[in-house]
């Protein structure tokens, strides 16, 4: 009796967008709490924890991704206005940027091209499929923009979203050690490198080190999002032209 009632409620809920939306928010809030409780350990990044918990839940209840997404799309939709909103921190940091404009532009262009080309080439060298290589190419760009680029060049946007998050975590984990071993101590340089390679998650890590490193990292994240969306389609076309049949 009670069981059939529960089944009926479940059948009703699983057909309504309310479930997917609420599950997304609850999973994120719980994952965020766990992250804070463990002293912001980057391995417990709330995005990864929440994604894994949601996948587990959907698999256990036999719910399809499509059903879940009917509700979660309301959160997903906000990626668009959030991307537009990146113009505001960019504008607020613009005066600091002017002083180092030329070095930042050079670093940005080199970083963006090296980042995309190296991920495609390494993935290709170890036998990844063309779709995977293309999904990896925008991995260093903030997720909303990376997903748009991935779609544009023929990658898989949702695979890109996951790869972007993992890239940010790797960047946050290796950044300080890498800079120390390269003897780079200037916070503006460290910030720019962090933002170009590891977008928002790297920026969050940079703010823990110093406000200046954080500001430059946020700036680099916004600029590289723009530069990558301009240059990556060209780079991919060029790679296709020099080696036909590879991508």
């Amino acid at each position: 009796m009670a069981e059939t009632d529960l089944t009926r409620i479940w059948v009703y809920l699983s057909a309504s967008p309310l479930l997917g939306l609420t599950l997304t928010l609850v999973a994120y809030l719980l994952a965020h709490r766990l992250y804070l409780r463990c002293n912001s350990n980057p391995l417990l990044n709330p995005v990864i924890t929440a994604i894994l918990a949601l996948i587990l839940f959907l698999k256990l209840t036999g719910t399809s991704y499509q059903t879940y997404f009917d509700g979660a799309q309301f959160v997903h939709f906000l990626l668009g206005p959030a991307t537009v909103a990146l113009a505001i921190p960019l504008y607020q940091q613009f005066s600091r940027l002017r002083a180092v404009l030329v070095p930042v532009i050079v670093a940005l262009l080199i970083g963006v091209i090296v980042g995309a080309a190296s991920s495609i080439i390494i993935a290709w060298a170890f036998g990844a499929s063309p779709e995977t290589q293309l999904s990896l190419a925008p991995k260093s760009v903030t997720a909303p923009v990376a997903m748009g680029i991935s779609d544009e060049i023929g990658g898989i946007p949702s695979l890109t979203a996951v790869l972007v998050v993992v890239t940010g975590i790797i960047g946050a984990l290796i950044g300080t050690r890498l800079f120390a071993s390269l003897r780079i101590r200037d916070d503006s340089v460290r910030g720019i490198a962090m933002g170009v390679a590891a977008h928002g998650i790297g920026t969050a890590r940079a703010f823990q080190i110093s406000p200046m490193m954080g500001a430059f990292s946020g700036l680099a994240m916004a600029l590289s999002a723009f530069a990558t969306s301009v240059f990556l389609p060209w780079l991919v076309d060029w790679l296709r032209a020099v080696s036909p049949g590879w991508l």
């Binding site: 997304t24 959907l58 340089v189």
Partner: protein
């Protein structure tokens, strides 16, 4: 009300961005064009409206929440990730380290070059 004003402005910029990208067949995502347009108009106006600042802060402080629905889409590609985990892992780790080192190196080298040039000029 502030948040509503701010989010409306952001949506208008996104909409204009999408229209321009489609109209001129540009290879960049519509929201990125919207970001560029907003940035340019902020430069022209010389200040950020408090309502827009409120909306932007609200959205950007929980940016990571917004990746989750797409990230769950990974469940559809589980077998691909299992099949290709080695190239994916190597590409992520090596390429992130290479990108960081190349970016930092390029910035330091350019700064030195400019400083030397300035030294010669002066």
């Amino acid at each position: 009300m502030q948040f509503l004003n701010g989010i409306t402005i952001l949506l208008v910029y996104q909409l204009v961005g999408e229209v321009i990208v489609r109209l001129f067949d540009l290879p960049i995502p519509g929201p990125v064009m919207g970001m560029l347009l907003l940035f340019l108009s902020l430069l022209l106006r010389g200040k950020v409206d408090p309502s827009m600042d409120t909306a932007a802060r609200g959205l950007l402080s929980h940016l990571s929440l917004l990746f989750i629905p797409a990230g769950v889409g990974m469940m559809v590609y589980f077998s691909r990730i299992l099949d290709e985990w080695l190239p994916i892992a190597l590409a992520l780790v090596l390429s992130t380290a290479i990108t960081m080192a190349a970016t930092a190196g390029a910035m330091v080298a350019t700064q030195r070059l400019l400083a030397r040039k300035e030294g010669n000029d002066g």
